[in-house]
Amino acid sequence: MIAVAVSVRALAVSYGRRLVFDRVSFEVGAGQCLGVIGQNGAGKTTLLRTIAGCIVPAQGEIRISGLTPRDALKRVGVAYFAGESTLPAFVRASAWGRLGTGEPVTLDRRPLRALSRGGRQLLGLRTVLGRHPLGLILLDEPWEALDPDSARWLSTTLESKRDRGAAVIVSSHRLHDLAGLCDAYLFLLPHRTELLKAHEVSAVGPVTPALLENVFEKLRDGSACESTQAIMTAEMVRR
């Protein structure tokens, strides 16, 4: 396993004149997991895609083990999946599953459009997560459409990969899935981003889904003068 650290500094991405997000900074070390939380349209997908080297940022820089994303992709095993809607509908499930490692992921020969949303999502995840070695995992709403068994499999797999040294960045609206997995949380809101590190508030209690939801709501509703840390600590003390 290659130890991969991701460093993002003052990142800004725009589509034409529309600024998607601005001044986003964080670091994710090897064996750590970052959860990205934000409203629809806040730029979660764009952020992950920029780290994956598909989008050229307007400002700022990304370093993956000291390299630019495009250079890092050649040397670091990267698993990136943006959801079942990115799978080509006409391809057979068994053929797609073999594209990850060459090994079959499923024997189902139906075209992907014939599978359920959850079936496609699971196949897409198993295809990219089967790659070896994996130094960096970038997943966009990975629990979306999964049944409870598949969701549990995904959480366990991500924990296992993280514990074996992979850096994991995952966006999700499912805060209860993120809360048990992540070491840090990036709240991505229009005109504001806040980073919360779990160990910095661990003295007052664990990070729970309810807590994440409260912090997110306060940030969304404009507690602009308060830092995430202050909101978090106050919330924990109140409880």
């Binding site: 598909c54 040397r75 990115t86």
Partner: protein, 218 residues
């Protein structure tokens, strides 16, 4: 690396299966027609090239923006190599069809495939197999082919009332070069060839640098 790319694009083919079936039918009809009457070669090659214009208008970036090529783009493969393999497999069915007709011509004329291997035919197949791919790289599938049909229709109308230079005719209608020896009029073939190669280079250069956001995330 190229083998991996070819394996990927065989699973996610740039040319729809219906188009491959169309090529198959056109090839069978063409081979039979040439076997019956060798003078039909040019017409049959033109039919193959018309289908080829649509086949290579495959829209690389459009598919990439839908996330279909994410497995490749996040694996560290050079984007130019990815695009070149995409182009090659877009053009492959048409080239196979064209070669089949050329082989039929050679068989029926005792090894002399005069029309299919004429210099003009070679230029035409190169132009038709590259320029539409390049012009459609950032556009939806078939965009270049539809645009070409529109320009061709306008060109036919204009040509009847205005004198049009031969290089321009060959640019708008490269099929006119099929079976022609263009070595004596190199300038007439040079313009469409130059446009095809420059547009291909420009498309590859842009694909290497451009951002590929997801359609739904913009």
């Amino acid at each position: 690396m190229v083998q991996e790319l070819v394996r990927f694009f065989r699973v996610v083919p740039p040319v729809p299966s219906l188009m491959v079936v169309t090529f198959f039918v056109v090839t069978i009809v063409s081979v039979v027609a040439v076997a019956i009457d060798r003078s039909l070669v040019a017409g049959m090659l033109n039919a193959v090239l018309v289908v080829q214009v649509f086949a290579v208008s495959s829209g690389f970036v459009g598919h990439a923006r839908r996330g279909h090529y994410d497995l490749l783009l996040t694996r560290g493969d050079d984007r130019v190599a990815v695009a070149l393999v995409h182009w090659a497999l877009s053009a492959a069915p048409g080239l196979a069809s064209w070669l089949s007709v050329a082989a039929a011509e050679a068989l029926t004329s005792l090894g002399h495939a005069g029309v299919a291997v004429a210099s003009g035919s070679i230029v035409a197949v190169v132009v038709v197999s590259t320029a539409p791919w390049a012009f459609t790289a950032f556009l939806p599938r078939f965009a270049a082919a539809i645009g070409w049909l529109a320009v061709f229709a306008v060109g036919v109308g204009v040509q009847s009332s205005l004198p049009v230079a031969l290089p321009l005719v060959n640019l708008v209608y490269p099929l006119a070069m099929v079976g022609v020896d263009v070595r004596a009029h190199a300038g007439a073939a040079a313009l469409p060839l130059a446009v095809a190669l420059v547009s291909m280079g420009a498309a590859l250069f842009a694909i290497r640098r451009v951002s590929i956001p997801l359609e739904g995330a913009q």
